[in-house]
């Protein structure tokens, strides 16, 4: 992993959409090796926060630094792996094999006119093996189950060998067994590969033991250094502004 003082350095970030305040005064840093959960109610601004970090939305005010570089001058986007919300919901007829989809993760590294190098091929194979989709290599993405598609999308994000993986509520349409494998994978990536993870989820209970910090987003942003605290009903009720029940389950 390349040295960096912080992966994300966000300061006084505000975002308005059509005059409505979506995010106000968000300030936080994500350090190398961290496993952060981003939680909050629907419409609270979680996905918007991630889109701002990735440059998919422009902030109304405030600043974002990526790996110490102001976002507008940042070029190494391949250092950030992104698995978007509903990524498993692919058009069934789209002509793309699993390998072609995973290979997309290398496109930014290859640059214009860049042919697939030995290094690209090795990274694609490694990402597919890590996600257990090597045997699906020639299958069309539209013919896979929700769980298999999810693994392919994560393999695509991992193919660029990112320093940080951003995952936005990826379990839509995915069975419980696949979710279970998914949480284990994130833990492995964080602990053994020292990959930083920023994970948007509603299912805070199942990853509470793994995460180092929690960003709670509900228009404003709160950072909790003590994730175990979020297993308490009164704390969750205070954050969500409505009575909340924490349901514990093993995964």
């Amino acid at each position: 992993m390349k040295f960096s003082p912080s992966l994300f350095d966000v300061n006084a970030l505000n975002f308005e959409r059509e005059g409505n305040l979506v995010l106000q005064g968000a300030t936080f840093r994500i350090l190398p090796g961290e496993y952060c959960a981003v939680i909050g109610p629907n419409g609270g601004g979680k996905t918007t926060l991630i889109r701002l970090l990735l440059g998919l939305e422009k902030p109304t005010s405030g600043s974002i630094k990526l790996f110490g570089t102001p976002q507008n001058r940042f070029k190494d986007w391949n250092r950030i792996g992104y698995v978007p919300q509903r990524s498993a919901l692919v058009d069934n007829t789209f002509p793309a094999t699993v390998r072609e989809v995973v290979a997309m993760g290398r496109y930014a590294r290859r640059g214009i006119l860049g042919f697939e190098s030995y290094e690209d091929k090795a990274a694609i194979v490694e990402a597919m093996e890590l996600m257990g989709v090597s045997d699906l290599s020639d299958r069309l993405i539209g013919n896979l189950s929700g769980g298999q598609r999810q693994r392919v999308m994560i393999a695509r994000a991992l193919a660029s060998n990112p320093d940080v993986l951003i995952v936005d509520e990826p379990n839509t349409g995915v069975d419980v067994e696949s979710q279970h494998r998914f949480y284990e994978l994130l833990r492995t990536l964080n602990r053994t590969k020292k990959m930083s993870i920023l994970f948007i989820t509603h299912d805070i209970g199942v990853i509470a033991e793994d995460i180092t910090r929690v960003l709670f987003v509900n228009q404003t942003l709160l950072v909790s250094q003590n994730p175990a605290q979020l297993n308490r009903c009164d704390e969750m009720s205070r954050l969500y502004g409505t009575p909340a029940h924490v349901v514990s389950h093993n995964h």
Binding site: L54, G55, L56, K75, D76, W77, N78, I80, Y82, P84, S87, T93, F94, P95, A96, T97, R99, E100, V101, M104, G105, Y107, A108, R110, I112, L113, D138, L140, N143, R156, S160
Partner: protein, 265 residues
């Protein structure tokens, strides 16, 4: 039947047709996958405005079609990407608006209906050597750009947000793609005609997708379908004195129906 290739006008028609087949089906793959198929139809109608203006003022209809189509493609992409308007709504506005404008210009001029007919439906007699040079130069440029940015355009078609987050210059490439399509459409009007070029862009990839392959073989099959249709269509046009564009599109439709039947799901 091969004696038709002894005639210079047929040689020109075949060279132009095969060039257009490759360009239209290759670029068409990207707009079909993005559910943006109506773009080709819309820009074809816009190029008709250019043709009408060219005929009215005695300028080159081909060049005027290129200019009209390019300007419209940029306006459409601007309204879609910057103003966030629904793409089908923007296309519908430009499609009907440009057709209305073309009809008004044609009505004002009044006397060039025969000439306009060949631009509407294509004519194998109308491809000049000068047209071939223009098509060769701009077609080669379009081909180079499509091949250089092939993988990026594919990524954008699959997932625009993730491509953008990965550092791919999506806005610039989107403008480039619509510009290429605008030029290809304008160049195609001699052979296929403004009202039928949309089919040459859309039907080959749609038929090829039915065979359930990855993107690269699908693209190659799409090009093969377009080439076959142009060869059969131009030959039929020569043998039975049919408008070339209509003959090509009927061939495409036959292949599409075969693809549907063979790949029933």
């Amino acid at each position: 039947m091969l004696e038709m290739l002894n005639y210079p006008f047929m040689q020109r028609a075949f060279i132009a047709g095969l060039m257009i087949a490759v360009l239209a089906s290759l670029s068409g793959s990207f707009i079909v996958l993005r559910r943006y198929s109506l773009l080709s139809e819309t820009l074809a109608h816009v190029s008709l405005v250019g043709v009408s203006v060219g005929l009215l003022f005695g300028m080159s209809p081909l060049w005027m079609a290129v200019v009209a189509s390019l300007v419209a493609s940029w306006m459409i992409e601007y309204l879609r990407s910057v103003h966030g308007m629904y793409s089908d709504s923007v296309l519908a506005i430009f499609l009907s608006g440009s057709l209305a404008l073309a009809i008004v210009i044609v009505s004002l001029a009044g006397s060039f209906n025969a000439s306009l007919f060949s631009y509407l439906f294509g004519s194998i007699l109308s491809v000049s050597t000068q047209d071939l040079w223009v098509m060769g130069i701009f077609g080669s440029l379009a081909m180079v750009l499509l091949l250089v940015f092939f993988k990026e355009l594919y990524f954008i078609a699959f997932d625009e947000d993730v491509a953008r987050a990965g550092g791919i210059r999506v806005t610039m490439l989107n403008f480039m793609l619509v510009s290429i399509i605008a030029v290809i459409i304008a160049l195609s009007i001699r052979v296929v005609g403004t009202l039928l070029i949309g089919a040459l862009m859309v039907i080959p990839p749609v038929a090829a997708i039915r065979f359930g392959m990855g993107f690269y073989p699908t693209t190659l099959l799409s090009i093969a379908i377009a080439l076959l249709s142009v060869i059969i269509g131009l030959s039929a046009s020569y043998l039975f004195s049919l408008p070339s564009g209509a003959a090509i599109v009927l061939c495409l439709l036959c292949i599409f129906i075969i693809a549907l039947v063979v790949n029933r799901r």
